[in-house]
């Protein structure tokens, strides 16, 4: 404890801790992700690369063609390379909202290499960064500094948010390498009553690849800007008895920034990341373990340096089986462990040392019943223990040791009925009740109607209430206990249409967050409203997808939220270069103007990215070349991290990376 008996706020694992004062920063010239010579070479590279690729594609393409493919024997058909047909990804997330889906194919084609890059392509999501972490904004809420996420992240059904800061790790510190993602879905809004209490403004549902998707092993190596070196090795198989397994490890080194999107690390530094995944399944049994460790060391001058380490690991053991004709049951034991360690030293030796650790486990049971005609009933119960929530300030020359230990228990029950009122009309009625020690019971009802007036058309209406309990960091590790969670009341209306090669949707929403956590003391309520549009067209291997979100989030005093853009526009185009062996993809993202916490303006930003993908080239190797921020726009989102030093503000950050990999059996 400090002299006044109160523990200080824990050190945030954000830029406020890792950045020294501006006077320590060595004067350096304006930075760019590529030296000038590199920029010149790069400026013509997009067109030249496309020309080379097209010529190469002409040389490589030469598929067997027949007017009537049924005349070909099956052996020949199996050996025929096909042009991808229009295929709109099917939603698997249980939510009556406008779900946004990206598949492994999209992730590969658009060259998305961190979870943040994947999320930044999804409608209505906004990714921000400081110099230590990346932050996810949804519906105008969330951005640099807001560690406690309001979007739930599930990896194969397992909650993947840490239990210290409720933080989503989406940068180089992601829990999962996007190369292992089979599909990712974002369901804005409260999702379903069956999800946990942190499904607040949205649910992200990641499904990872299975052993059958490899049946062998896969290796990839990449080099890129920010001193990046990356290696991945993945193996997996499906056995004759139906059992499947997959194992993967990714190792990465870079300059320590959470993303190459924001330019170089301003000071000499090194980041190291390790991601690993093990999974298996057999006859209704599933076992999965995954984790990451990310460390960043920074040297501000000869003696002044610091280092922080984030680590997370998760495990699941589950069993799912039919219990007679109409019943189905599932039980999962899940858990996780999270650490944040920080050390800083100067010429006089260590002056800050912290170790913050958390652990949790839970039992999650669900029972489904389909024996009642027209109804699909699901009952759930979840019992969670957080036995370790520890803040430990280690002794240094000028400060004594301090330590706070907490534990938590949470219990929740849920029920949901999917009721077919007519062939074209479905209703979902759901309720979740949750209780945490020291916090009042929280009821989270969610109801929805889905009407399909004619083939291809769907109208969805959902409304409900979601509750988010405070993270242990928001409670200052016990010094500022919260007896209530923050509550979001939301309404969504969505119109969707799918027909042949075209899909489009429009959604309008409104929400109100009462008793908001992590805001200024005078704020009692946040309100948000928005309109989102999305359209996708696919034909002959081409894919064109565009979305625009207009969003407005304000507090009850009429102030807009910081780092909350009102306009988000995203455009993605992917096309085969003659054959599917070569594919060129482009993404365009425009983020509207925002403001910093102190009122400073962040101008609008537009970025154009290109990715060239070559599949099964020489010796079966794949090649990916990523050209990022081709228009070399400035990154202004971190300007306040540099105080008033104009040399570091609005850095241009055009950059490139190259990856070579392959599958081997």
């Amino acid at each position: 404890m400090s002299e006044d008996g109160r523990p200080p706020r824990p050190p945030l694992p954000a830029a406020s801790v890792t950045l020294p004062s501006p006077v320590r920063r060595p004067p350096r010239a304006r930075c760019s992700a590529l030296p000038r010579a590199g920029r010149t070479a790069l400026s013509g590279l997009g067109a030249r690369m496309a020309a080379v690729a097209a010529v190469a594609a002409l040389a490589l393409a030469g598929p067997a063609r027949a007017d009537d493919l049924t005349e070909l024997p099956l052996e020949r058909l199996l050996d025929t390379e096909v042009r991808s047909a229009a295929h709109f990804a099917r939603q698997v997330t249980d939510a009556a909202s406008a779900v946004s889906v990206l598949t492994a194919r999209d992730i590969r084609a658009y060259g998305l290499r961190t979870l943040a890059e994947v999320l930044d392509q999804m409608r209505g999501l906004h990714v921000g960064a400081d110099l230590s972490y990346m932050f996810l904004g949804a519906r105008g809420v969330g951005g640099p500094g807001m560690l406690a996420g309001r979007v739930m992240l599930l990896i194969d059904g397992q909650p993947a948010v840490d239990n210290l800061y409720d933080q989503l790790f989406i940068g180089q510190d992601s829990l999962i390498d996007p190369a292992l993602i089979e599909r990712i879905e974002y369901a804005p809004g409260g999702g379903s009553a069956m999800y946990g209490h942190n499904a607040f403004l949205g649910v992200l549902n990641i499904v990872t690849r299975r052993g059958r998707d490899l049946n062998g092993w896969e290796a990839a190596a990449a080099v890129g800007a920010n001193d990046e070196r990356k290696w991945r090795l993945t193996a997996g198989a499906r056995l004759d008895n139906g059992a499947e397994w997959l194992a993967s490890v990714t190792v990465r080194r870079d300059d320590g920034l959470p993303s190459s999107e924001i330019g170089h690390q301003p000071w000499p530094g090194e980041g190291q990341a390790l991601q690993w995944l093990l999974k298996g399944q057999w006859q209704g049994w599933t076992v999965q373990a995954l984790g990451m460790r990310h460390s960043v060391s920074t040297r501000y001058d000869a003696a002044d340096r610091d280092r922080f380490v984030d680590g997370s690991s998760l495990f699941t053991l589950g069993h799912d089986r039919a219990l007679g004709r109409d019943w189905r049951g599932g039980l999962k034991l899940q858990g996780g462990r999270h650490t944040y360690h920080y050390d800083a030293a100067d010429a006089d030796g260590p002056y800050r040392k912290y170790a913050i650790d958390g652990a949790w486990w839970e039992l999650d049971g669900q029972l489904g019943y389909t024996g009642w005609t027209g109804h699909a009933l699901v009952l759930g119960a979840r019992w969670r223990q957080d036995p370790l929530l520890r803040y430990h300030r280690k002794p240094t020359a000028d400060r004594g040791e301090a330590r706070w230990d907490l534990s938590r228990q949470t219990f929740s029950v849920s029920a949901e009925d999917r009721w077919r009122l007519r062939d074209d009309l479905h209703a979902t009625l759901g309720l979740r009740l949750a209780h945490r020690n020291g916090v009042h019971w929280a009821a989270s009802p969610r109801n929805a109607l889905v009407w399909a007036p004619s083939p291809g058309w769907q109208l969805k209406w959902s409304q409900g209430r979601s509750t988010r309990f405070a993270s242990v960091s928001e409670e200052d590790f016990g010094d500022a206990p919260q007896t209530r969670g923050e509550v979001a009341h939301s309404r969504d209306l969505t119109l969707e249409h799918r027909r042949d090669a075209l899909r489009w949707l429009a959604t309008a929403y409104h929400y109100r967050i009462t008793q908001p956590l992590g805001t200024a003391d005078d704020v009692q309520q946040l309100r948000g409203r928005g309109l989102e549009l999305e359209a996708e067209w696919q034909a002959a291997g081409w894919q064109l997808r565009g979305s625009h979100a207009w969003q407005q989030a304000r507090d009850d005093l009429g102030r807009g939220l910081p780092q909350s853009p009102q306009q988000l526009t995203k455009l993605q185009l992917s096309a085969p270069l003659g054959s599917e062996r070569w594919r060129l993809s482009a993404t365009l993202r425009r983020v509207g103007g925002m403001r910093f916490e102190d009122g400073g303006a962040i101008p609008p930003n537009t970025r154009l990215d290109l990715t060239l993908l070559g599949t099964r080239l020489l010796h079966g190797l794949d090649l990916r070349l990523g050209l990022r921020n081709l228009n070399n726009s400035r990154a202004h989102g971190q300007d306040d991290s540099f105080g008033g030093d104009p040399a570091w503000q609005g850095r241009r950050n055009r950059h490139a990376w190259l990856e070579i990999g392959g599958q081997f059996r």
Binding site: G44, G46, A47, M49, A50, A51, A53, A54, A57, L58, A61, P63, A64, R65, L69, T70, L72, P73, L74, E75, L77, L78, D79, T80, E81, V82, R83, S84, A85, A86, H87, R90, R212, N215, D240, N241, G242, D500, A540, G541, L573, A575, P576, L577, G578, S579, E580, R581, L584, A586, T606, L608, L610, T615, R616, L630, N631, N632, S633, R634
Partner: protein
């Protein structure tokens, strides 16, 4: 910045123009190949009670594959029987169908249909991920640049259908063999 963006867009336009020219050399469409797979699967299957007048291929709901499947209409299968393509609703009677195609877009309707398909002498083929694990017989999926197929042998045996050894040999994976 606008100038740079325009230059970037011009380069992208040039690349796409090149790529459009190259597209004339494109590969066969995935849907046409899937329909050809389906036609082959029928040829390699024996039914406990083979049809005598026509062979009926039922298709659940409306599927993106419909135009490709329509081109199979009238083609001879088995011992020269004409193939008839027939749409099917999730609660329609299954009698009369010798084969059923379940498209991924019809996954929700398929869930309703699955219990009725158990032990029915109908060759069930899908391109929906994981439905062969749930009791359908053949699942087509894309692997890299080509199509492959998995077989649920337990499901075919339960229904009394026999798949030729040549078909099983060409399958990417055969489950339920033991």
């Amino acid at each position: 910045m606008t100038g740079r963006l325009h230059r970037g867009l011009r380069r992208l336009g040039l690349a796409l123009a090149l790529l459009g020219a190259a597209d004339a050399w494109s590969q066969p469409d995935e849907r046409a190949v899937k329909a050809a797979f389906l036609y082959n699967f029928i040829q390699f299957t024996q039914w406990p009670l083979p049809p005598t007048e026509r062979f009926r291929l039922c298709v659940l709901g409306q599927a993106p594959l419909d135009p490709a499947l329509a081109r199979l209409e009238g083609k001879p299968v088995l011992n020269g029987l004409p193939l008839r393509v027939q749409p099917l609703g999730p609660r329609d009677r299954l009698e009369g169908c010798q084969a059923l195609y379940v498209d991924d877009s019809q996954r929700a309707a398929a869930e309703e249909l699955l219990p009725r398909l158990l032990a029915a002498p109908i060759l069930t083929v899908t391109d929906s991920d994981g439905l062969a694990d749930r009791g359908l017989m053949i699942e087509i999926r894309k692997r890299d640049l080509k199509l492959v197929f998995d077989v649920n042998l337990a499901a075919t045996r339960r229904s009394g259908l026999e798949l030729s050894s040549r078909l099983l040999k060409l399958a990417h994976y055969v489950g339920g063999a033991r």
